[in-house]
């Protein structure tokens, strides 16, 4: 059996099984994130949320999925057919392939590569293509506006996100995600790098087009933004991709700042739980804040969004990067020095 797994065919099968064992729970998590969002928003707005399908409305996501599947796929006559169909697939698959490098436990990543952080950053910066292609291929005004908004927004917030990542990398001395988590054994980076943690979290909100930065969708201004013309499964793919992206960003926040799979403080009652469970719980905590923010803040105006990205986050993260580098150098705390 072990011999077989070392042959190319065995390796392919092993990778397939690994991918499935990561993606199936991920998709179930996506389904229940939509449920959690409606429940949490309901609780915060003194409503009940979904409570009809199944006990406590627990089968609601599946009812929604079946509804989506049954509907007719409509492709507008003026649309660019190939790109119109490609865009949601792109969004969805980009949200999935990023998970290849996420370590769920010590060494539990499908691909434990040396440039893991760069890979994640590269994939998350590609997310904009699904949206911009959808907006253009729809050949319609509102989607196009949404696509333009989204392109400008995501490019802007990527810059400060990059600086935050570089700051973390300075403290770790490696681009490997596994090393980043193990470097936080004694102290999570959320504590010494707290301002960067906040900036990173807000940037992930902007990067995933979540409220209060959901201008690309902005239903009160541009109907539903880039997916106005989408229906049925193509819409469902966008929906899945967006929520999978949220989970991915929460996982990134967990790995970079909240110590990944490590138990808090590394002491007895906490260490009884296995690492992947801690990883899952931390992701859930970050996702809850995503939902909480949505229930709390009104949408930003576009100029405010741009001002926040370029005039506040960018100078501040640059300053903090130089500060952290200086402190590390002055006290001789640089890793691998």
């Amino acid at each position: 059996m072990i011999e077989f797994l070392k042959t190319p065919a065995g390796f392919a099968i092993l990778t397939l099984v690994q991918a499935l064992s990561l993606l199936v729970p991920l998709l179930i998590l996506v389904a229940y994130l939509t449920y959690a969002e409606r429940k949490v928003l309901g609780a915060m707005q003194l409503r009940k949320g979904p409570n009809v399908v199944g006990p406590f409305g627990l089968f609601q996501p599946f009812a929604d999925a079946i509804k989506m599947l049954m509907k007719e796929t409509i492709i507008p006559t003026g649309a660019n057919r190939a790109l119109f169909i490609m865009a949601p697939m792109l969004t969805f698959s980009l949200a999935m392939i990023a998970w290849a490098v996420i370590p769920v436990n010590d060494g539990w990543a499908i691909a434990d590569i040396n440039v893991g952080v760069l890979y994640l950053f590269a994939i998350s910066s590609l997310g904009v293509y699904g949206i911009i292609i959808a907006g253009w291929a729809s050949n319609s005004k509102y989607p196009f506006m949404g696509a333009l908004r989204s392109a400008a927004q995501m490019v802007s917030y990527e810059v400060s996100m990059g600086f935050v990542m570089v700051t973390v990398l300075l403290c770790v001395g490696s681009l490997n995600l596994n090393d980043i988590v193990t470097a936080q054994t004694r102290l999570w980076f959320a504590v010494p790098l707290f301002p960067m943690f906040v900036i990173f979290f807000i940037s992930t909100l902007a990067e995933t087009n979540r409220s209060p930065f959901d201008l690309p969708e902005g239903e009160s201004e541009i109907v539903a933004g880039f997916f106005v013309e989408y229906s049925s499964m193509s819409f469902a793919l966008f929906f899945l991709g967006e929520y999978a992206n949220m989970i991915l960003m929460a996982a990134m926040t967990t790995i970079l700042f909240l110590g990944g799979w490590l138990a808090p403080f590394g002491i007895a009652p906490f260490t009884w739980l296995p690492g992947p469970l801690w990883f899952f719980l931390k992701i859930c905590a970050v996702l809850f804040v995503f939902l909480w923010v949505r229930a709390t803040f009104p949408r930003y105006r576009y100029d405010q969004l741009m001002r926040l990205g370029w005039k506040v986050f960018l100078p501040f993260s640059l300053f903090y990067l130089v500060l952290v580098a200086g402190v590390l150098l002055a006290f001789g705390w640089l890793p691998n020095a």
Binding site: I113, F121, A122, L126
Partner: protein, 230 residues
């Protein structure tokens, strides 16, 4: 064997998409093919073991530069018949530029033939124990830090030049001064009035806005710009 197959696959897609960049009729399709070409180039980097370069290629070119390309191309209203009109006129110039590039490429590749020393430089020894991210950092930030900084300065000058050329401070646009908004108190802008029932509001002058404080001298042109122009 698999690596060789992957190489030929990526190289073939790279070449085909590079040809499509020039021949595609729709400019948006051309940019998308350019992105595909970038992707395959980065895959080739990966096959060559240069994982840092591969990722940086995707982050910088696909994630940022090509987005802006696409952004601009989508908003342009390109008139194709007009574009083709100029073809006859500019064809000789284009051909000349292409020829110069071809000769340069031939010289670079032929250099290994003419100068035997160059071939050994091409195979500069790299330490297999050190990963290539570290090696690149060593080269850029330690060995050639002066050249690197000089290149950065050139880019900075180019950036400032671009901003200076395109920035116009339109006197008609109304800017939002956040500090002033935050510094204002309700009692400066709000007046509580007692209105008698049925007396109406017109005679009392309630609808007249309270007298504004004098504007700071610097932005006198935006007399009521507190809310921003939106």
């Amino acid at each position: 064997m698999i690596a060789a197959l992957a190489f030929y696959l990526f190289a073939a897609i790279l070449l085909v998409s590079a040809v499509m960049v020039v021949t595609a009729r729709n400019p948006v399709h051309a940019v998308l093919f350019l992105i595909l070409a970038f992707f395959n180039a980065s895959a080739l980097f990966l096959l060559a073991g240069a994982e840092f370069l591969a990722m940086i290629l995707v982050i910088v070119y696909v994630g940022a530069v090509a987005v802006l390309f696409l952004f601009v191309v989508m908003m342009l209203d390109v008139n194709f018949s007009q574009l083709r009109e100029g073809f006859q006129r500019y064809a000789p110039i284009g051909a000349a530029v292409g020829l110069v590039l071809l000769v340069e490429l031939a010289l670079v590749l032929g250099g290994w033939k003419f100068a035997p020393g160059a071939a050994s430089l091409r195979m500069a020894p790299i330490d297999p124990a050190v990963d290539n991210t570290r090696q690149l950092g060593q080269l850029l930030y330690t060995d050639y830090v002066l050249l690197f900084q000089a290149a950065g300065l050139v880019l900075l000058v180019a950036m400032i030049g671009a901003i200076v050329l395109t920035l116009r401070d339109r006197q008609t646009s109304r800017h939002q001064v956040i500090a002033r908004q935050v510094a204002r108190h309700p009692h400066e802008t709000l007046v509580m009035m007692e209105v008698k029932t049925g007396a109406g509001v017109a005679e009392l002058g309630i609808l007249r806005p309270p007298v504004d404080e004098p504007e700071p001298a610097g932005d006198a042109h935006e007399s009521h710009g507190h809310g921003g122009g939106h």
